[in-house]
Symmetry: C3
Subunit: 329 residues, 3 copies
């Protein structure tokens, strides 16, 4: 059982106003080893203490066991595609909305999410990882979402309709990453499916006289690839993603959206000074640019600042910024 933590204090500008921003958090990390040498453990943040107590909805923290066979994790693990390919380099004290993070299927927000948030991400899921030499492979599956419901009733003569419904949601992903020297390539594929089925049964005088069934399915997938390279202390990364199936069709049909997202970023460190930058264009044709810098004060303290410029398609742009001190304990 180990305790660690982080904290920060600074200012944030939201495009209109400046406000103070600060926080302090603790992280619990538990670990053990079986008699045969398998490692196991769990970890969660203090503010996620309730979500980590999740059972069939562990939406924070993770639990794992690992050995020669690889590593198996349950909980808030994200998708295998995300684990393999990851995100662009971030900027700022607060992350400035984390526009450097990619909308993987397990993170889809907004209108499309209502159709496609198949639960890979922020509910219980399982992830398997295996690494050998420069190759890492990942496979994940979201919670097996099932909702069953029955409605309708018979009248006093035994006449009427009874309808059984079942809605299932499934998500799965695979990913891989290969490192050779200072170069790395990665790829991931994630898919999600919603399926609703119903069976309506008609009764007359208590006897079943007819039955009608039907179902509807909605699918989404997301193929994503990345490349990255490190030279002279500078790390550069590019990521391209393409949505498919019903999600791809919906994006394609929307004149304000696209099936594709792409971006590039860099991070470098020169003694105490760190700099990072990213550019990302998402499915909804919003472009985000970010630049950030930090200065290491030693002992776990850094001065950090960043600027983010957001340009949504068809509306005016907005610039946000932050600056302050970040601590790790």
């Amino acid at each position: 059982m180990a305790l660690s933590g982080d904290a920060r204090m600074g200012l944030i500008y939201d495009g209109d106003d400046i406000q103070m921003t600060s926080r302090a958090r603790v992280i619990f990390t538990m670990s053990g080893e079986t008699d045969t040498g398998l490692a196991f453990g769990a970890s969660f943040r203090g503010d996620q203490i309730d979500g980590a107590n999740g059972n069939t909805n562990m939406n924070a923290g993770t639990v794992f066991i690992s050995g020669d066979f690889g590593k198996l994790s349950f909980g808030d693990v994200g998708s295998a595609a995300r684990s393999a390919v990851g995100d662009l380099h971030g900027v700022g004290l607060t992350g400035l909305g984390f526009a450097n993070e990619y909308p993987y299927l397990d993170r889809l927000q907004g209108d499309l999410a209502e159709e496609f948030d198949a639960g890979l991400g922020y509910t219980t899921a399982a992830m398997y990882e295996y690494s050998i030499d420069g190759l890492s492979v990942f496979a994940s599956v979201g919670q097996f979402g099932v909702v069953r419901d029955t409605f309708g009733e018979l009248d006093s003569f035994g006449d009427g309709f009874i309808t059984d419904t079942k809605v299932t949601s499934n998500a799965a992903a695979i990913g891989a990453r290969y490192d050779f020297g200072d170069f790395g390539v990665s790829a991931g594929y994630e898919m999600a499916r919603f399926k609703g089925t119903f069976t309506e049964t008609e009764f007359f005088s208590g006897d079943e006289v007819d039955s009608v069934s039907g179902s509807e399915t909605l699918k989404a997938d997301h193929l994503i690839i990345g490349v990255d390279a490190t030279f002279e202390g500078i790390n550069v990364k590019a990521i391209y993603g393409r949505a498919g199936k019903d999600l791809g069709d919906a994006l394609k049909a929307d004149p304000d959206a696209s099936r594709d997202q792409y971006g590039i970023s860099m991070s470098a460190r020169f003694d105490e000074v760190g700099v990072s930058a990213f550019a990302h264009r998402d499915f909804f044709k919003t472009t985000n640019l970010g630049v950030g810098a930090s200065y290491d004060l030693g002992g776990g303290a850094r001065i950090v600042g960043g600027v983010r410029h957001e340009k949504p398609k068809g509306s005016s742009s907005n610039t946000t910024a932050d600056f302050g001190l970040a601590f790790s304990f």
Copy 2:
């Protein structure tokens, strides 16, 4: 101040569907000693951190002081009857609904609970324990529940009715356990009482002209006895409980219920292998059977699985099961 924790990851079958289940928790344990050698301390789980901060409703965690005089605990202590007699042996990774746990008065759920959940259990209570040789005695009292209310008003002529009401709920329990060699016997008695009183006062031109009072009382009790024995590494336990007073009468009058509950269970350990089983018939004539097994991997890790079969009176049975890894840190 000591930290410990537990975590688990596995699968659960609810009778219809299989889902992943996992969680991670931390436990805070604080202890101290006075100059004269009295021990004191407190303990609560991380996900109960708010309930443990309870004041007059400390519904999680406990605080204690102990010495030659015995041990006095406040908080989420349960009833003395439950402390003395306890529950049947449990099964499974998740407890599978904890059907091995007895419906003591401090745990009553459902329809009857609305009349009888007198607050022994999941609100602040106090427990006193004393042990000498093989004998342990327990006495507990629930929070002194009081709700006072006044309603009604006088009109502009000073005419009208004012009604004062007071609802009190009290619960108390005693228990004892005696161990002789490999055998143990235990018994507990718990009681709960709700009392509502009212005084309606009539006013005319601002003067009190009449006053009517009344009260209604509802009582419940529960006598419970247990025997257990250990031989050749096998622990066997049987528990019988009988509800009385208004609760017993209500159960007796209900054709689908009974004043009696009873059950039997066993648990055994052979090197790394553990097995357990229980059978319980509750007040509502629901029968639960459970079997479970575990394999100790060492270092605090176990493989655990269980099956529970539930047969409610007058409706169809259901079987649930779970399987996975349980960790303690």
Copy 3:
């Protein structure tokens, strides 16, 4: 990263009924040091774990950095006036409602708070402190509260009104304390301001034809001074506060209120025995008297009890009391 905690168990009398009261809490304290010797850290209670994760509303816990320049803290810091002058000595196991605490502007509750709770206190704020010899100075500023809103719309002819509103709330305070030998004097000044502005623009056929602006401002301030002295192990303290600006005018105009509050208190320790007492008359002419005593059992355990007598202006008085064990870990 250090853990500490506290717990208590006892009885409380609310003027009508006696109830059991208990609780257990944990405190997280994180600290570090930069390469150049600046100290930094953060602290919060376990039950405040969510509030400490606050960003622009860190309403629990604090984060700080300190060095030769002084100490700068963000988070739930209270006002500089409160830090300099403080509160009267408290009584009892539970604080008995903390009537010894002064209604600083960052704590104003009730009717006036709706106009004047300018956010110094229980939202993110910043505090600067500097001490040299016997002198300590404090300066604080509350979160820069800003709410912007736009409403109204144009009809299909491009006619209509659009109104932009902006409500800002600001709070700031200064304070100082000087100690000479066994005497100390302290003073603080805190102020809060709400300002609402609007601009209503009229459109005709899509063109701006007229524009009207306006604003309204509401101000409050609070001057508070304190003196304290220690002799023969007895600490005595007196505090006087006077509200001004719109808040002072509103209090002055209210026959049941006053612009002034004042109080006196003492605390003494003789070996294991501690006693304390306070008397306070607040802005609403409510008088509170409190007396308390404690006995130190060693090892962090104390027996503590207290009585509080409250006499609101124009209504009947109420006496509350508590008694029990307090533990620190």
